[in-house]
């Protein structure tokens, strides 16, 4: 079911995504940043990631929110894979217990 609107949407998504990826590079390649700007740049990516996941605490079930807390504790100790496993298992467990 590849109609024109679907094709245009997908190609448009690809274009704006690549635009966002190229844009920051083009803006900054010929600049040197001062100390304050460097500090802002170094904290910014963390702000991005935390902004993406913060709404999970609003939209999730109570089981999801407990699972997020357990996942956070796991992340302090375990690597990527272990944390993902704990995250999935705890979301399954808490939602099963609380439903």
């Amino acid at each position: 079911m590849l109609d024109l609107a679907t094709l245009l949407t997908i190609l448009g998504m690809g274009m704006v995504t690549y635009f966002t990826r190229i844009c920051g590079f083009l803006l900054l390649r010929n600049k040197t940043l001062n100390a304050k700007q460097t500090q802002m740049m170094s904290v910014a990516p963390g702000c991005v990631f935390i902004s993406i996941i913060a709404p999970e605490f609003l939209t999730g079930t109570s089981g999801d929110i407990l699972a997020l807390l357990v996942t956070f504790l796991a992340a302090l100790r375990l690597g990527m894979l272990g944390t993902i496993v704990v995250g999935i298992a705890s979301a399954y467990g808490f939602n099963w217990l609380l439903s």
Partner: protein, 239 residues
């Protein structure tokens, strides 16, 4: 076209470092495909979307907002909003790749997904500590991270669209937690002391408020910028 030894080595090193992440991509991409199938996407179509776009957050948002026929400009706009964080990520990567030829810079930026970028920045710091005289960015390492993730993401989204309906609602298996879990691990890795705390807290609160009161992907942008504004007004970190 023989590949020299150190670069081959770096490619494999990238693959190995990305491997745990790759396993994390499997359930998340599967979820994406299953949700896309509910909006009448075929396996081929969701694979096409993920290969053109390769930015998971915006793909979930697009599928969520998908109608038949899709609201073309609205979905493209939300994609732009959700992915505007790449502008900041690209800016932090810029000083490390600007010496490269265009034929390397353009693919590097194409594959700059969140996780790829995070691993690349980690490697740059590590390489720089090791040999401060050299540029820290390794193109072959980067491809070793990016290409397997790119293929896995797309193939598993296709499988999710094909098999997803047989398994029923995937939320009951807790698979939806794989995505935030990945981001939590990346965040823990980025933590480098107390001066992160206030900007992160403000970002989180503003993002939640914006998510609640505003449409589309505004929450990512407003959350990010409010955190950066806090850094601007904070005193110099004595770290």
């Amino acid at each position: 076209m023989s590949v020299s030894k150190p670069s081959q080595h770096a490619f494999v090193e990238g693959m190995l470092i990305a491997f745990p992440l790759l396993l994390g991509f499997v359930p998340v991409a599967f979820m994406l495909g299953a949700e896309a199938a509910q909006k009448d996407f075929s396996s081929v179509l969701i694979m096409f979307l993920t290969m053109v776009n390769f930015a998971g957050g915006s793909e979930f948002a697009a599928i969520e907002l998908w109608t038949s026929p899709p609201a073309v400009l609205f979905i493209i706009f939300v994609t732009l909003m959700v992915n505007s964080r790449h502008i900041i990520m690209g800016a932090t990567l810029a000083p490390h790749i600007k010496h490269l030829p265009k034929r390397k810079i353009l693919p590097t930026l194409f594959f700059m997904a969140d996780e790829v970028w995070a691993l690349a920045m980690q490697d740059i710091t590590k390489q720089h500590k090791h040999t401060p005289s050299k540029k820290g960015f390794r193109f072959d390492f980067y491809l070793g991270v990016a290409l397997p993730l790119y293929v896995t993401w797309s193939v598993c989204a296709g499988l999710g669209a094909y098999y997803g309906n047989m398994l029923g609602d995937l939320h009951q298996y807790g698979l939806h937690m794989a995505f935030p879990a990945m981001f939590i691990v990346i965040l823990v890795g980025m933590w480098n002391g107390k001066h992160n705390a206030l900007p992160w807290l403000v970002s989180a609160l503003v993002a939640m408020l914006a998510y609640h009161y505003l449409p589309g992907g505004w929450y990512v942008i407003l959350g990010t910028f409010s955190g950066i504004v806090v850094v601007y007004f904070q005193g110099d970190s004595n770290a």
